[in-house]
């Protein structure tokens, strides 16, 4: 039985970073939409969602963005309160917000804590000023450690996000960032290879030769080094880009995505998955507000997944997890699965013993080639 989860998308940023293609808006891009209207819009969507979903308790909640912490702490508290009032929040639920190190301080975090937040994910990205400059991140790297220390003192679970493979980033710079992150002694680390998304400023800079193309081989080296170093420091991977100190500190909210659970994404551009249906909200806050004012769920792009599509998604998501993918799923999708599995084992991309137990579990090399492994398993 699917559990139910909530995501709240706060689509505001002070500045737009060159690599980012998320649905977020700076003050000028909002075209007159007042950030202060956000909570009241959210309230309407939450109430509509309640009517649609019925009585389902939230197992986890995640605030992402954008920059959720651009909102005053009491507004985030209020949003949580709205969810509590409409759906109810399970005992011991994991309640996370992403936090920009420059937008929070002790009193801000205290407010969140007393509202019920219990996990903070800091957008650290790098500890190296040159790399942060390439990414156009404006925060002061020293602020991350300070805030993590405060969060730990306030008994939040903590995580930092890192990005590797920014144009020009050397192996040494990456190692410096990872060491800095480890020094903060967070419970959790996420590390993402930089993806150059089309139509971003970074993509244009690379196309024009202003910045170098990210080097995929170097990214692979960085991933391998990272995995080794984090393991030495007592972290274990549980998803391709996520490492946790212990099983209990893995992000339960993100696991819900990967295990195909139901969630409602609130806010402009947020994606939802409920009862085999996927949709996303309209992107711009103004349009979002307009739909809501007319009493409509502001969704577009709805699709009801076929059984095969559901199975494909399951393969796609579970393969990325430490627990791996049940090979039964593959058997129904690919006639020549046995050959595929044996070749993948022979090439050292999935674990042989686990395969015999009926699971496809990626090796370190396999993790770096996960998309290839997936295509091969699905016979594509």
């Amino acid at each position: 039985m699917s559990t139910f989860h909530g995501y709240v998308h706060v689509p505001f940023c002070k500045v737009r970073c060159g690599y980012c293609d998320f649905n977020t808006y700076t003050a000028t891009e909002l075209q007159g939409y007042p950030q202060t209207a956000f909570i009241s819009n959210l309230q309407v969507e939450i109430e509509l969602a309640k009517q649609s979903v019925g009585d389902r308790e939230l197992q986890t909640i995640f605030f992402g963005g954008g920059t959720p912490t651009l909102l005053p702490a009491n507004e985030l508290a209020e949003a949580l309160e709205l969810l509590q009032r409409n759906f109810g929040i399970a005992d011991g639920a994991e309640i996370t917000t992403e936090a920009n190190p420059d937008t929070v301080d002790e009193s801000y975090l205290k407010t969140l804590k007393s509202a019920g937040f219990n996990r903070l994910s800091f957008g650290m990205q790098s500890a190296v000023p040159e790399v942060l400059a390439t990414l156009e991140r404006t925060h002061n790297p020293a602020g991350v450690a300070e805030n993590v220390a405060i969060a730990k003192r306030l008994e939040f679970q903590t995580s930092v996000d890192l990005i590797y493979g920014a144009p020009g980033e050397t192996m040494e710079q990456w190692q410096e960032s990872v060491h800095a992150a480890l020094a903060m002694q967070t419970d959790h680390i996420s590390a993402y290879a930089l993806i150059v998304e089309p139509a971003t400023k970074l993509a244009r800079q690379i196309a024009s030769g202003e910045k170098p193309q990210p080097d995929e081989d170097l990214q692979a080296d960085k991933y391998e080094w990272l995995d080794y170093t984090l393991a030495e420091a007592g972290f274990e991977w549980y998803e391709l880009s996520n490492w946790s100190r212990e099983l209990g500190t893995a992000s339960r909210h993100n696991m819900a995505y990967w295990q195909g659970m139901d969630w409602w994404g609130f806010g402009p551009g947020a994606h939802s998955h409920v009862a085999g249906r996927r949709w996303s909200n309209v992107k711009h806050p103004t349009t979002y507000a307009k739909h809501l004012s007319e009493g409509q769920i502001p969704s577009i792009d709805g699709e009801l997944l076929s059984v095969i599509e559901q199975q494909e998604e399951r393969a796609m998501l579970e393969l990325r997890l430490k627990a791996g993918l049940q090979l039964d799923v593959v058997k129904s999708l690919n006639e020549s699965h046995a050959k595929a599995v044996s070749e993948l084992v022979a090439d050292g991309l999935i674990d042989g013993r686990q395969a015999l137990q009926g699971r496809a579990v990626l090796t370190l090399q396999g993790r770096l080639l996960a998309d290839f492994v997936l295509r091969k398993l699905l016979g594509l």
Binding site: Y7, Y192, A193, L194, I195, D215, E216, D217, Q219, A220, Y223, L240, S241, N254, Y257, W258, W263, G265, G269, A270, H271, S272, H273, R278, S280, D301, E303, E309, E312, E313, M316, L317, R320, D347, L349, Q365, R367, L368, L369, A370, D371, F372, L374, R375, L378, L380
Partner: protein
């Protein structure tokens, strides 16, 4: 000046004294079709309203490329000094690939208009056809075309023509096919100087087939020139080479639309329709006679067309194989020179080994297959026919490099050509360099005028089938022209170079090359493939080998990363859609062993020209 003829002479009853059969010899874009258009208009056989450019070129490709592939004959009336004449213009193909067809067209004429662009002078191909015309004792009428062009130098080129064929430069007519200037004078001159046909009207019928085309409505239309006797509709006719008997369902002349007649008499040119569906039943050069009164001796000059160049043709989508077969079967009906047989390639799947008269023929056939039958094709690098003798004495004919034997080879014979190249003298150096680089041996060099030179070389055919002509054109800024004729076989120090991907031979890339060039070929192909084949999840060595000996190697480093870092809410749908896209892309991949090779890589690797300097793979 002659007026249009008021009456036409009736076919089948025309006195040979009033018939003139001529052809036009010209280089590809020297304006032959345009001149023919003007003649059609001037003689009134095509009225101005229905006139269209290059009226006689029937295939789209012909019209687009401005070249004539298949010839045709048109009967036109013209009056001179109060007498009406019937002029038969026999259009000849203008390309070296079709020399045999040209020679049969020439054999159907008594005169030839030598048409030369007044801005460019004579070209190698024209020279070759002129030579053929003179061998056939044709009366040559030199004509300079395009005199309306600002760049025209009629004086200079009249001199050049006079030097070639003798006579006075002043005798050289000046015309413009575009404006029509001088075309009437040319028609007059044809009547005055071209001898009328001579034959025995009472002898058994003998007609020479100079062209045979397939028409989807009427079946094969055979174009003939009557030499002796008479042919009439409903008569049983016989092809002398095959002894096959058909009924002449329809006989007629083209002027230029087909007009049925009561028959054809001595010296006349026209067509026969027998209801046959395959042009092979009606071979160019063959002699037609009647069953009732058969001739005993066939006309001279008949020979079977021999393919010179071979290439494997494969459908890009394997499921198109039956369609390709059907398309070739259909094409064969109208192209007697096309030969093919099924072939299997490890890399390319099922296809056909096709034989062509030459490179242009190959290009035209593949283009027609793609255009008229909607097929996407890959053609392997063209190769020639080798005669291989083994130490054991066994002899093997190799038309596909992958058939080249592996054991001890005693000798290899390869086809040679005699090439004639005409170019301004400034380019002699680069041409010599090119020919020597292609194992050419110079026969002689001659100045045609003050600044134009004719070079003659003996070259292996294999050296010119790939990109020789392109190279020649680019090294001479397009000024050089090339003609070649077969020149027997010669022994060559040849080896087969194989290309291996991860140890698996890719048959489509095997090539037979001269020993001294094997290394260069190996380096070129391995380098090209390294650029073209995407990285795989394992390292892929690419090797070039002669037998078991590796002569060049490259490797494609293993792909180490193929994963999207993130997969959250919105990424999930995106990623699934990406998967579906990749599924499509996969269809265009061919497996060589475990290596996925995109179709594009095959096409690019097999295509001529410089390799693109793309992003170097690391």
């Amino acid at each position: 000046m002659s007026p249009r003829a008021k009456t036409r002479l009736e076919p089948a009853k025309t006195n040979p004294d009033f018939i003139r059969n001529f052809c036009i010899i010209a280089h590809i874009d020297h304006g032959k079709s345009t001149l023919a258009d003007r003649m059609l208009q001037l003689t009134g056989v095509v009225d101005d309203r229905s006139m269209r450019a290059q009226y006689l070129d029937r295939m789209d490709i012909e019209r687009e490329r401005g070249i004539t592939i298949k010839s045709q004959a048109v009967r036109m009336p013209w009056e001179l000094d109060g007498q009406t004449y019937a002029l038969n213009m026999i259009d000849t193909p203008g390309h070296v690939d079709f020399t045999y067809e040209v020679s049969r067209s020439l054999a159907a004429c008594e005169g030839a208009v030598l048409l030369v662009d007044a801005a460019q002078g004579i070209e190698a191909q024209t020279l070759a056809n002129l030579y053929l015309a003179m061998e056939n004792d044709l009366q040559i009428i030199p004509v300079l075309n395009k005199i309306d062009l600002p760049a025209a130098q009629p004086e200079k080129y009249a001199e050049e023509l006079a030097n070639l064929i003798g006579g006075d430069p002043a005798d050289c007519l000046r015309v413009s096919g575009k404006t029509g200037i001088g075309v009437d004078a040319l028609l007059d001159k044809i009547i005055r100087t071209v001898p009328h046909p001579v034959g025995d009207p009472n002898a058994p019928a003998r007609a020479m087939i100079f062209d045979s085309v397939y028409d989807s409505y009427r079946g094969v239309v055979t174009y003939v020139r009557m030499i002796d006797g008479h042919l009439a509709p409903r008569e049983k006719i016989q092809m002398m080479s095959t002894r096959a008997v058909h009924e002449a369902l329809e006989i007629g002349v083209s002027s230029p639309e087909p007009e049925p007649t009561k028959g054809l008499g001595v010296g006349e040119v026209g067509y026969l329709i027998t209801g046959v569906k395959d042009v092979r039943q009606s071979k160019v050069g063959d002699t037609v006679t009647t069953v009732a009164k058969p001739a005993t001796e066939a006309l001279k000059g008949y020979s079977e067309p021999l393919p010179m160049v071979f290439s494997g043709i494969y459908p890009i989508d394997g499921s198109d194989y039956p369609n390709l077969r059907e398309a070739l079967d259909k094409l064969k009906l109208s192209d007697a020179a096309l030969v093919y047989e099924p072939e299997t390639s490890v890399a390319l799947g099922f296809g056909f080994r096709c034989g062509f008269l030459g490179l242009l023929h190959l290009e035209i056939v593949t283009e027609r297959l793609e255009r008229e039958f909607g097929l996407d094709l890959i053609a392997t690098a063209p190769s020639v026919v080798y005669e291989v003798t083994m130490d054991t004495g066994t002899e093997i004919t190799v038309t596909n490099p992958s058939e080249f034997p592996t054991g001890k080879v005693k000798k290899v014979l390869e086809p040679m050509v005699k090439a004639t190249i005409l170019a301004p003298k400034d380019y002699v150096g680069v041409i010599m360099e090119l020919c020597q680089g292609r194992r050419g041996v110079m026969i002689d060099m001659q100045y045609l005028g003050e600044d134009r030179v004719q070079l003659r070389y003996t070259l292996p055919l294999a050296e010119i089938v790939f990109d020789f002509f392109d190279q020649l054109k680019s090294k001479t800024q397009g000024y050089a022209s090339l003609d070649y004729e077969e020149d027997g076989l010669a022994e060559g120090d040849l080896v087969k170079v194989d290309i291996l991907l991860q140890g698996d031979q890719v048959d489509a890339f095997s090539a037979i090359v001269h020993k001294d060039k094997a290394y260069a070929y190996g380096v070129l192909m391995t380098g090209k493939l390294r650029e073209l084949i995407p990285r795989q999840q394992f390292e892929v060595p690419i090797q070039a080998a002669i037998g078991a000996r590796i002569i060049a190697r490259e490797s494609i480093r293993a792909m180490r990363k193929d994963v999207l870092a993130k997969c959250y809410g919105g990424d999930i749908s995106r990623k699934r859609k990406l998967l579906e896209k990749q599924k499509e892309g996969k269809k265009r991949m061919k497996m060589v062993g475990r290596v996925e090779v995109p179709q594009e890589a095959f096409i690019a690797a097999l295509s001529t020209g410089d390799e693109k300097k793309g992003d170097k793979k690391k």
